[in-house]
Each structure stands twice: as C-alpha cells, then as structure tokens.
C-alpha cells in the first residue's frame, strides 16, 4: 500500500512520465488509430504437432515423434519454430552433458557424429574464500561426480540435433518466434502465431508490415527454455502453478544465484571479480576472450515443477524446469521430458478410438510418465540439497546435510524443504544495504560489460518497439530506482537498462537499449516490481552464439 501511494503521489505532482513502452501487448492495436484499416488477417497452416523452441527438449521431442512415426509407418507433420536465426544460436551452457537421455534417443550417436568428444577425466570441487581455496572431496555417488559425462559445446550439440531432426523429416523454422498462443473456443490450445514484422519503434505500422502466421496443431509443445514468455501466460491461463512453489533461478555467467538480497549486486561484475581469484586466474592467464553470453537457469527443482499438461499442449524442458541443481545439469532431463512428451502424444494421436473432450488434445499421460521416470527419481532425490544451503543451514550446514541425507540416504528423508519464495521478492531496499565497490576490469582476464556484449553477436532490428515491455512506464523510477536504486541497471548482463537524467532537468528516466538484449530473461525474473514483461522481438534477433 505504501509503494502504491508513492507512485500515486509522484504521478500527481511530478512531470508526465516519459513514454518508454510502445509494444502492442501493452497498447492494443485495435484501439490505436494508427492501425485503422490495416489488414490484420493471418495465413494459417495445420500440422499434427507444433513445437515452440528448437533446443534440447524441443528437438528431442521432434526427433522422437518422427522416430515413432517412421517405425509405425504413420504420417506425422511436426513443425518446430525457433526465435534464433539458426538452431543453436541462442543456446548457452557450460556444459557437461550426461548422455543418459541421448543414449536412449540415439544409441548410435557416436556413429552419427554427435559432437561429444571430450570425456570428463577429473572432477574438482572447492569452496573459494576471498583468497583461498578449500578443496572438497567428491565421493562417487555425490551429484557432482561427473564420471561418464562429456564436456560439450551445447550450441554445437543442439545444431547436430537439428540436423538429425531434419533428416527425419521434421520441419525446422529458425528465425521465426512464437509470439502468441492461440485458443479454440473451448479454451484448449489451438497452436501458436509467429511474430508480426515491420512495426516501427513507436508502435506504428511500417510499409513492410506483415502479420505473422498461425500454426495450428492437435498438440503444441512449449520448450522455450528457462522462464519462457508464452509459458508465463500459460501458467496464468490454466493455473498451472497452483500447488507448486515459485521457480527460483540463477544466471549463468557462471553462476550467481538470483535469490540475492543486495540490490547493489551486479552478477556480471561478480563474475569478473571471480575470475581474478588466485585459484582461478592462472587457468585464464594468457588466454583471450572470444565469446560472451548469459542465460537464466531454473534452480527450483522438484518443488517448483508446475502442472505440465493442459488441453492442447504440454510444457517440456527448462521451461517448467527439470534441472538437477547439485549436478548443475538440466540438458539430459530436458531431453528426456521432450522424449516422454513425444511418446505420450504419439500414442494419443494414433489411437483411433480417441475421444477428446476438447478440440486441442489433452495428454495427461505425459505428466504421469514423467513422474514414473528417472527424471522424477533424480529430482526427488536431490530436492532438499539446495534449500538446505540457502535457507536453513548455510554453506557448511548444507554440505553436512548433503553428505548425510543425499550421499548416505539418497534423498529418502520424508520431508521436503521449501524455497524462500520468488527471486523478485528477495531484494532488500537499497538503504538497508551497502553499495559494492567493484574493481576495474584489467582487460586481460576481466572485462567491461559493453565489449563483452559485442562479443555475443547480439543484434535486433532497431526500428521495432522495445521487446522489454513495462506494464507501467512510471514504476521504474518511482519504485525500482527510489527503493532499490534501480537494480535492473546492475543485473542485466547486457547493459539494456540505464537510468539517465531527463532532458528537461530534474529527475531520471529509464532508457531501454533493447538492441543489446541477449534473451537471458533475468530482468523478467528479478524485477522487484515484476513490472518488466519480456516478450519476443522480431524473429532472428538476439545473440549469435557459436557453440556456446
């Protein structure tokens, strides 16, 4: 109530809020006089299954569907839409791949040339203090043990999955973002619509304006990765998060947890500082920085998994979130979730006696089979490890807890610890915290933000409405800046948000440099006012990661 009053009084007595947002999701076009008479009809096409997101989950689902279709000699049209200009260009991860799901999907992956070339030979785990390094033994059976796993460039692995999918007859459409979920009259999901193109920065139509197209499907799979923007809508629409905890996240830079409380913290600068640690710096000395990227990851695990199915669609991969946090691995579970969804959907679609209550087909069998699979067993076993570190026992207590309850008892304890709540609610007001003095980058091991962002290859058509939309243009200055000293200028790893002085003198305004965005989703997650709503920009905009 206090903060609402604050906004209200500011509104009454200060200068008009400069307009930041021009996106049609905030300012609908049917009420906008500039759009009168513009043809808004969309071309529509039908597929059997449409998959949003060409990442490990989406591609595994597509591949599995086609494998089953070919096996049973059935025709199945599977289309994948992906916002990146090429498959793998928005993929970012360490990554250490556990090949369990891959072994199931392609037992002959080696012969097929999957880029899994570097096997893990040694694991080291340590706690870093300001100057020292305390090694921690990794006993076999602990989740951090990587025996049998491969170091991969996930972007290249995803590219390879894309090639396998195309060979099987999957229709891949990189460069086209799913911007809207379509619904049948009975409320079930009908499919998606891709983004419109040719809208100017101020929200008006350009000469080259064209509507996106509609892709209708019997079932639509949503595999947008961590904190998907369509998934966000689906959670609300179908109330999928009833009964599960809010998702909690980290940003991979790598890795700073997003449940931090000090609004002065900048994940990017923490990462730069980390590289200078005496035990890390020697590995990096003499090297040169050739790439940069950032992405949010889901860390809520078991407690935060929402309902996965709804009439006409399912959620797969990191979008609902199956990452095994202590293992720091989510690719294998993402792939398996895609495969399980494909199997459940295929059975349903080929069942001739199928009677569906809704036009969009409901596949609760997917959720059931996921809960009976090794994905669920894995997530259940490690469910208490992260909460034990963060909420209850601190660092050493957490390690003790892990040692006893995971290593010895394999997570069979009967209780489930809770998370703290939403990451966005964790920030303390700025006046309760101390600003952090970060050291200057040295240009050899640590670097400044903007030169790093340039290396991500990110770019967007500049003349389009900023895709980082604000529900209320006044909130960033009235709340975020006033109470939290504008944390968005620090947590964005691409320098999108800047508070700049108003041209008319007193006061500040939020400037959104949407072109820099690397699609990490941190702002949508961490904004304490939850005022920032990330929507999809024109397709093929965003980073150009190469095997990240």
């Amino acid at each position: 109530i206090h903060t609402n009053l604050l906004v209200y009084t500011r509104r009454c007595f200060s200068a008009p809020v400069p307009r930041v947002t021009s996106h049609y999701t905030i300012y609908p076009r049917d009420k906008d006089p500039r759009w009168e008479g513009v043809d808004m009809e969309r071309f529509a096409d039908e597929a059997d299954v449409v998959i949003v997101g060409g990442g490990p989950a989406g591609l595994s689902a597509a591949i599995r569907l086609k494998q089953l279709a070919n096996q049973h000699e059935k025709e199945l049209r599977v289309c994948v839409v992906e916002k990146a200009s090429q498959i793998g260009a928005h993929t970012l991860s360490g990554a250490c791949l556990e090949p369990t799901a891959l072994n199931e999907l392609f037992p002959d992956w080696k012969e097929r040339g999957a880029p899994l070339n570097t096997q893990v030979t040694e694991d080291k785990f340590a706690i870093l203090t300001e100057k020292y390094r305390i090694p921690v033994p990794i006993l076999p059976g602990l989740p951090m043990n990587n025996h049998g796993n491969y170091i991969v460039r996930l972007g290249h692995f995803v590219r390879w999955l894309g090639e396998q999918a195309e060979e099987l007859g999957v229709e891949l459409y990189p460069g086209y973002a799913a911007a809207e979920v379509l619904f049948h009259e009975d409320g079930s999901v009908k499919g998606i619509a891709t983004n419109d193109v040719g809208i100017a920065k101020d929200g008006s139509p350009k000469d080259v304006f064209e509507r996106g197209m509609e892709l209708h499907a019997k079932v639509t799979l949503f595999g947008e990765g961590c904190h998907g923007h369509l998934a966000k809508q689906l959670y609300k629409h179908f109330n999928l998060r009833e009964g599960c905890e809010p998702q909690t996240y980290a940003i991979g830079l790598k890795e700073v947890g997003l449940d931090y409380t000090n609004p002065y913290l900048s994940p990017f600068r923490e990462f730069q500082r980390w590289k200078h640690h005496p035990s890390i710096a020697p590995t990096l000395e003499g090297g040169s920085r050739i790439a940069y990227g950032a992405r949010a990851l889901n860390e809520g695990g078991f407690q935060s998994v929402p309902k996965l199915t709804f009439p006409g669609g399912t959620l797969i991969g990191c979008s609902p979130g199956f990452m095994n946090v202590p293992k720091i691995k989510g690719t294998h579970t993402a792939m398996k979730s895609g495969m399980l969804a494909a199997e459940a959907i295929f059975s349903k679609l080929t069942d001739e006696s199928l009677q569906s209550e809704t036009t969009g087909i409901y596949v609760p069998e997917y959720e059931q089979s996921l809960k009976n699979s090794w994905v669920w067993k894995e997530l259940h076993a490690v469910r208490n490890i992260r909460p034990s570190f963060h909420n209850y026992f601190g660092l050493y207590g957490g390690m003790l807890y892990t040692g006893i309850f995971y290593w010895i008892l394999r997570g069979k304890e009967p209780w489930t610890l809770k998370h703290c709540g939403m990451d966005s609610a964790q920030l303390k007001p700025a006046k309760e915290c101390t600003p952090i003095e970060y050291p200057k980058p040295d240009g050899k091991i640590s670097f400044d933000l903007l030169s790093s962002v340039a290396l991500s290859g990110t770019n967007h058509e500049h003349d389009q409405p900023p895709h980082l939309t604000l529900k209320d243009d006044g909130v960033p200055v009235a709340q975020n800046l006033a109470i939290y000293d504008g944390p968005e200028q620090r947590f964005c790893p691409a320098g999108v948000y800047e508070f700049v002085p108003l041209e008319s003198g007193e006061g500040m305004r939020l400037q959104i440099n949407a072109q820099n965005c690397v699609h990490c989703k941190t702002c949508d997650i961490k904004d304490p006012s939850q005022n920032i709503n990330w929507v999809v920009p024109e397709g093929s905009g965003g980073p150009a990661y190469n095997g990240m």
Binding site: D45, S85, G88, R159, Y173, Y176, V197, G212, M213, N546
Partner: protein
C-alpha cells in the same frame, strides 16, 4: 520487356557478428558463425521482385556460388519472391579463393545460358567490399552497366538508372540487356515471412558446376596473410595549448 532477370545473392557473415581471425592467420573464422544474405543482395532481390510485380519482367532467377549452405540464402531469395534458384557448387579451396573475377565469369555464362536480359547485383559484399563483380560481369558480356543505383525505371527497351555518385546523383539511360548494381537507397527489402519460406520449399533450385559452364576457377590472387587491425593506441590528454604544441614537436610533427 525483359523476360528473365538474374539476381546474384551472396552468403556472408552477418554484419552484427564480431569477426575473429583464425589463429593461423589464413582467414577469418566462419564455422558455425551466423551468416545471412549480403544486405545489398537483399536490395537487389527486392528490386527484381518489384519489377516482376509491376509485370515488367516475367521471371526472377536467384543465383549463388558456394557450398551446400548457400542453398539457405537462395531459399530466402525464393521466399522474397524469386521464382527459382541456381546453386553453383563451389567448395573447399576453390570457395576460399572465389573472388569477383570468377563469379562474374560464372554469372556471364549463366546469363547467356538462361537468356537473361537483366542482371541485378548488390553493389558490393560486406565481407570483401570489392565492388567489382557487377562491373566485371558487364564487361565480360559487353553489356552496359548502371552501378550504385538508387532508382531504376523501365522506359521502353531502355533502363533509366539514377546513380549515387560522389558529386550527387547522376541519371543515365542504358540499353537492355544490362547489369545494374543496387545501392542502399534503392528500396527497403521485404521480410521473408514464414508462409513464404514454406512456399519457397516447393520452388526449384538447380545445381550447376562451374566446369559445366566452362568457367575456370583458378585465382590470380594469393592471400598471404590475414591480420586483425592494429590495436588502437590510447591517446594522450593535454591540459594547455603549450602542452599540445610541445607534444607535437616531440613527435616530430611540427
């Protein structure tokens, strides 16, 4: 009027990507790097498609020289409205050394084979900045050329081309058949929308080998070395004019 237009499209590293020189200094890193159609080629395709929409030409044929991946670039041209595509297969060392001379020989041979009466190309590619292919192609065919076009209009059996030159705008009239190269302000290319990409899958792309066209790809140029531009040295700030003069004298400039 002109029955057939040939449009050359080149697959280049996307303009927003940071270029990296290969550790062995033989070239730049291209593997896995984001590529897209050369922006000037997009403008060329757009102009050709507009001519077709005005019913001034009957068929637009998109051509690209290179390995398998250039088919994506041809598909984009097809999605923008080209009728069919020709993929001239060049790969490996031949592709590394492919330059304007070889490409213009290929285009000249194709123009004769396809009986094209108009060739539209981008004025230059953003990777090599050569700005030679259009001119060389015209010379090999002995056709007139309208380069740096910011406007193209058909007037009977002639072409009026307004060219962007250093002194301003030059208007010329040239006979057909002719070669035109597109400059930035010629048009704003349309987006290749998804329904058109889907339709483009049904359009035909024929594969051709340079040998079939009688073209010898041997390059007369040898790349000795590729280096990054030298690191810019930091400047020095001076407090007064006297300091500035002193520093300039020190550096032997005055």
């Amino acid at each position: 009027m002109a029955a057939r237009v040939l449009v050359g499209v080149k697959r280049v590293i996307d303009y927003a990507v940071k270029i990296r020189v290969k550790p062995d200094n033989t070239g730049v890193v291209t593997d896995g790097v984001k590529h897209s159609m050369n922006p000037f080629c997009e403008i060329a395709v757009e102009e050709a498609v507009r001519l077709k929409e005005k019913k001034l030409v009957k068929e637009v044929v998109a051509v690209s020289c290179g390995p398998q991946q250039v088919q994506e670039t041809i598909r984009t041209a097809l999605a923008m409205g080209a009728d069919r595509g020709i993929h001239v297969e060049v790969s490996g060392k031949d592709y590394d050394s492919l330059g304007p001379l070889q490409v213009s020989k290929i285009l000249a041979a194709l123009a004769k084979k396809e009986e094209a009466s108009l060739i539209i190309l981008g004025k230059q590619a953003i990777d090599d900045d050569c700005n030679q292919t259009g001119q060389m192609t015209a010379a090999l065919l002995d056709w007139p050329q309208g380069t740096f076009a910011s406007e193209v209009a058909v007037e009977g059996d002639k072409l009026k081309v307004i060219r962007e030159v250093d002194g301003g705008l030059e208007t010329i009239k040239i006979n057909l058949p002719a070669v035109v190269t597109a400059d930035l302000r010629l048009n704003t290319p349309r987006y290749a929308t998804l329904p058109n990409i889907m339709k483009a899958k049904k359009k035909k792309i024929t594969n051709v080998k340079p040998g079939d066209l009688g073209v010898d790809l041997t390059s007369r140029l040898e790349v000795l070395r590729v280096d990054e531009p030298p690191q810019r040295q930091a400047g020095v700030k001076v407090e007064t004019v006297e300091d500035l003069v002193g520093k300039l004298k020190e550096a032997g400039r005055i």
